[in-house]
Amino acid sequence: MSSKSASDSVLLNSASAKSARRFPMRLEYDASRTRSPWWSPILSIILALLLCAVFIAANGMSPVTVYDKMFRGAFGTSYGITETLVKAIPLLLCGLGIAVAYRISVWNIGAEGQLTVGAMAATAVTIYFPGLSSFWSIALMLVFGTAAGALWGLMTAIPRTHFGVNELITSLMLNYVALLALDYVVFGPWKDPKGFNFPGSPMFTAAQSLPVLGTTRLHIGLIFGLVAVAIYYLMIRFTRWGYELKLIGANPTAARYAGIHIKKHIIIVMLISGGLAGIAGMAEVSGVTHKLMQGISPGYGYTAIIVAWLAKLNPLGLIVTSVLFGGLIVGGYSVQTIGLPSSISEMLQGAILFFLIAGEMIHRFRIRRNA
């Protein structure tokens, strides 16, 4: 092989020795270039929009009309903007949880289930403790929602730490279990007797609902999200715990030799991760839907994975990307008026993620002139 490449960089092409001589340029991989440029997420979004435009056009629609409809629906009116923010709240909370776990390479893709059980636990408070004062019912719902989400996170952490089971599979299986449990309670024991046989819990009272801003649907859960982001920033920046997470993330073997208990950290981050998703679930039922019903989450837990990645686990980035993806969800709903499925936003999310992970690597390749 070529002796020209530096020790930390290698040739891309396996048939390189020969082609390197013939071809004046070569591609070089430099693993040390880990920081991708700031504009790479923006470029990913643009390329994803272009790719999906091809599919939309192939299906006989005009991509311009569709994207215009989506954008106007999400950001065009003051109603659209508050709706976008309403959707951004669960994305921010779940995305933050995923980011915390990802710091030490724990892949939590179970935010969807953790959110669902959080919503269920909050609803349990309204059913088993009716008639509490506003303060106590909200506080109790918050505690129950967080605890349920954290418990669901723990059920992913324990198999990983004590049985060596990949957390991706466990957390995903638990999503399906949570959704089936939700179906059971809304069709069964918690079904509203006055609900015209419609699956869902009874409506929450005013005391069990989170305060909203004016006449909009924007609720105080936004404050929960922002406070959580601020705490995350301070914890990561200034505490020993944050430092240990950074150390494990950078080099788990070195961290273990340094005496850091990795299993304990995995359990802690999964408790936090699940707890935050649980808060998101509590905020959804108490702030938005005011009752427990099927489809409480249109895939917030999955979208939040991309939110966390696009933000590169950065607190400020999390706020920006969750608003952006909140807009994508609202935009997805608004294309339903022209007869398209809202899952068009899911397709866009997948495409963005493809370009994002590709972009993260592509900039590590450099075109070099052969000497």
Partner: protein
Amino acid sequence: MDFTTQLLIAAISAGTPLLLATLGGILNERAGIIQLGAEGLMLMGAVTTCIVYIRSENLLLALLAAIAVTAVLGLVHAFLCVTLRANQTMSGLAMTLFGSGLSAYLGKSISGIPLPGTSPKLDLGWVKGIPVVGDIFGRMDGLTWFSLLLVLALHLLIHRTSWGLHLRAVGDSPATADVMGIRVQLIRYSYITAGTALIGLAGADMVLAYAPTWNEGLTAGRGWIAVGLVIFARWNPLRALFCAYFFGALDSLGFRIQLLGSIVPPYFLKMIPYVVTILVLMYLGYRNRNKPSGTPESLGTPYIREQRF
């Protein structure tokens, strides 16, 4: 027919898509690349089959289209994971999201329309006469027979041929394989593409033999169960056969208990496959805690020439 025979028939019918997807996953992971996109790939395979079959009324064309579409997605995964060395977990998740979104979008126009036919049954007159065995084998359709042959073929390929040796070498130690003159990148590309096409065929089987119309998200997590089954089967095609049928049985057992008038609500019965997956993986993890698990040694780590690990 007694209960057991009925359960066996149902287990095979529900287990076949799981088997095909698991075999596809095994091919991917034997080459050292994690494949978490099974759910999205199955959905893409299913929706392509439905669209082409309804439009052209030609089963073979529909199957080929499903294979072609998922093979293209496989090439994307291979390009990201092998050439660009991107994060394999994230690429798989992107595949699942993109696949479920795109399949829902493309399938909107044919949602609920029944397919013109099902997977053809093989006419085995002489087998049908045998009790029990005849009941089971006489009912199997073409894709089920194909999956059985595939198990045998892949078992022989992986464990008895030099191609299989190369495949295992690439999954276990790509650097060594490279030194031995095996073309690591070519092998990885080929097996990823072939494996994802098989997962697509699993989706096609779901609509042809199991649920005869397209519905948004019709796989309901079976792709993810297949990801678990790859581990459960310890990357071995023969074990995959038993594991897939076992889960097929669990899947249909819930439905059958319901028919028998069980007092347990159906939602809990539907949880069985998911809960059992977690419990079985925990048991395997516990039992094999000090033993090699059969995982391809370099699973998940991209291979870079001239770089020491």
